[in-house]
């Protein structure tokens, strides 16, 4: 018992992490389903509606509804990837070839650690984030680690030893590097506004520096009144565009662009390795949606200028998580919606959009916000 008490602080994070990964992977597979269903609704089709799990699928009315909505489809999709014959072309560079899908997925799962997804009120009455690790530099960690995701794509393109994946890999790396700049710059004003030049501590003394730093929790707490998107629409737009580019989604899916590059970087991948790339794409989308919601859509805060209606207890925490997830689902829907509405950019247009439009705008936005903040602080101090 003593041993258990001592080791509990170490065991519980692992349990939480496993829990979170399971939920997250479930979300990934269901966003694949969402993509298929939403796209079919947009296009006037029906979408997956045949997969039926024995027993559950045969519950009188519910079973039919679930089957019709394709709720069992992710299981079938996943199993299909698992049971497919594993074909590895003879000309690939084996080591990197196997490594690439892992590297593609790992960053998305890692960034999950610092992503707060709800709040609770602790014994002292202080609001705390629900997060695996509440790090002050949360956003920096996310930016840093998620940009490693491009290595998966570059390695896949390179190790495939084939021309179409190679072109896809090269395009992806150039694109991601270009858009990361605009993305980072678009974020800074948000944190500058969220982080006040100082705060009054519990004894009423002014402390220089920010209470929250680059913590995502701080940004969400600062949006209790107005969501960032309402007074930082330009930052939100820039970040959103960069997010689309970073997640390799249409209209920016240069790495994949199936009409000219066949399948882009994953042309030579089959079975579960392709499945990993597939899941990685959706993992990035979910992470991106989550970050966008936290930064610009008020996180788990109810509505702009409306106090959170949920209480302090466990029930309140659950509601905050649910509200946060609802916003994330909306963003995922937005991603899907865009994909099935817009045509695809050409590679050089993506690059000139990134360097000639987004980057100057982001810099201008940053400078402008800096000036405003400086004036504001000087005048109100």
């Amino acid at each position: 018992m003593e041993f258990l008490d001592a080791s509990l602080p170490y065991i519980m994070p692992i349990v939480y992490a496993v829990l979170m990964i399971s939920v997250f992977m479930g979300l990934c597979s269901y966003s694949v389903l969402a993509e298929r269903k939403v796209s079919s609704w947009i296009q006037g089709r029906v979408g997956p509606n045949r997969t039926r799990v024995p027993l559950v699928g045969h519950i009188p009315i519910l079973g039919n509804v679930m089957t019709g909505l394709g709720l069992f489809q992710p299981v079938a999709d996943g199993l299909k990837f698992l049971f497919k014959e594993e074909i590895v072309p003879g000309h690939v560079n084996k080591g990197y070839y196997y490594l690439a899908p892992i590297i593609a997925l790992a960053p998305a799962l890692t960034t999950m650690v610092v992503l707060p997804f709800g709040r609770y009120v602790d014994a002292d009455g202080i609001t705390q984030p629900l997060v695996l690790a509440n790090v002050d530099l949360g956003m920096l960690i996310i930016l840093g680690i998620s940009s490693l995701g491009v290595y998966g794509i570059v390695l896949a393109g390179w190790s495939s030893n084939s021309k179409y994946p190679f072109l896809g890999g090269v395009r992806a790396s150039a694109q991601m590097i270009s858009y990361e700049l605009a993305m980072g710059l678009a974020l800074l004003p948000v944190f500058m506004w969220a982080a006040s030049p100082g705060y009054y501590d519990s004894e009423g003394l002014f402390v220089e520096g920010s209470r929250y730093g680059m913590s995502l929790f701080g940004v969400v707490q600062s949006q209790q009144a107005a969501w960032t998107i309402l007074w930082q629409p330009l930052s939100a737009l820039l970040f959103l565009v960069a997010l689309f580019a970073e997640t390799n989604r249409l209209p920016f899916d240069m790495a994949e662009s199936e009409t000219d590059l066949v399948g882009g970087f994953h042309t030579e991948y089959g079975c579960f390795k392709f499945g990993l790339f597939f899941v990685a794409e959706y993992a990035h989308i979910i992470m991106g949606s989550g970050i966008f919601v936290l930064l610009f859509l008020g996180g788990w805060n109810f509505l702009p200028w409306v106090a959170d209606p949920w209480g302090d207890g466990i029930f309140g925490s659950v509601l905050s998580v649910a509200w946060f997830m609802a916003k994330v689902f909306f963003m995922i829907f937005f991603f899907i919606w865009m994909r099935w509405t817009l045509p695809r950019f050409r590679y050089d247009q993506v690059m000139s959009l990134g360097w000639k439009i987004l980057l100057p705008l982001a810099v201008g936005n940053l400078v402008l916000n800096t000036i405003i903040i400086a004036l504001y602080d000087t005048l109100t101090r």
Binding site: D260, R344, Q349
Partner: protein, 413 residues
Amino acid sequence: MATTTKEISIGDLGARSHGAEPTLQGETMALNVGPSHPTTHGVLRLKMELDGDIVKSCDPVLGYLHRGDEKIAENMTYNQFVPYTDRLDYLAPLANNVAYAMAVEKLAALEVPDRCQAIRVLCCELARISSHLLGIGVYGMDAGAWTVFMYTFTEREKLYTLFEELTGARFTTSYTRIGGVARDIPDGWLGRVLEFCKGVLPVLDQVDKLLTRNRIFMDRTVGVGAISKEDAITYGLTGPNLRACGVDLDLRKDKPYLGYEKFDFEVPVGTAGDCYDRYLMRAEEVRQSVSIIRQCIDQFPEGSYYAEDAKKIFAPQKAKVLTSMEELIQNFMIVTEGPQIPAGEVYFEAENPKGALGFFIVSKGGGVPYRLKIRGPSFCNLSILEKMIPGHYMTDITVILGSLDFVMGECDR
């Protein structure tokens, strides 16, 4: 690998950056696109040389779908060849059927009755709509807009149902016979055609909203793959691809057949000859076709659907064959020997969805052509690839190929 070092002065660098021809800094990459590749819409193969992302040269390789249709034609009667014409431009088989039948009829100097002509006009225009709907849809898909494809394809399905009612087959229609059509239009079919026309225009408007003023789509297509008027004529382009370049040539207007002169319709003509213009051409042509169909149905002639006086060409009605001696013999002769076409040579071109589909037929009399040559518009339209593609980005190729809207069945024959 041996390496050489070279000292570069500031002056050199200046000279290099200013005015110097951008020379290739490394190797070019040979890239083989096709014959099985999502952008080639069939079995076109392009051998390309890439400098980075820019195509230096492009060598189209054709012939993967060659079936020897022209030789096959020499070994069968005129009517037996009709199903082979289905497989030329398989997105508009009805229009091919009509063009072929008219070529043979021109050789036989045979006039078909008004009703037959009207049916054929409907066939041609419905086929045009079918082909252009696919053209626009696939073009959108090539540019990355999948939804457009699904929208237009839904309309095509309705069109196929109409074809099925008319001809008995959704895809390979084989509807015309020399001297007429296989059977009269079914009851109420014209009403259903009008209903389809009513439904197709809103879908076109939807596509319009999705693509026409879409900034991304315009960025991808405006100024891309531009063909000059002169080039278009030199390379023998026809159809929407030619008209997009600003050449006002439409056989329906310029050499009217099937009574097209009676209909009031516009021929859209482009200005720039780029991919965007080619898209606009097709969208507008669908609208014009709808207008032609409405005019045609408005005053649909009564009468026979085949040339009754062409006793040696069009097989008589089955009911008469079983009751009358003369018709029995007539039927027997046409079935065994084929329609009797006089000796001579003829060339006939019809304005098909993809361009001018021409048939050159040499007959030595009897029921079998001595030689039959097909001018496939897709084949001629593709001839410009070699000149057009170099200098474009690799990604542009999908859009250029999509905008040319070719069908390999017609290309390779």
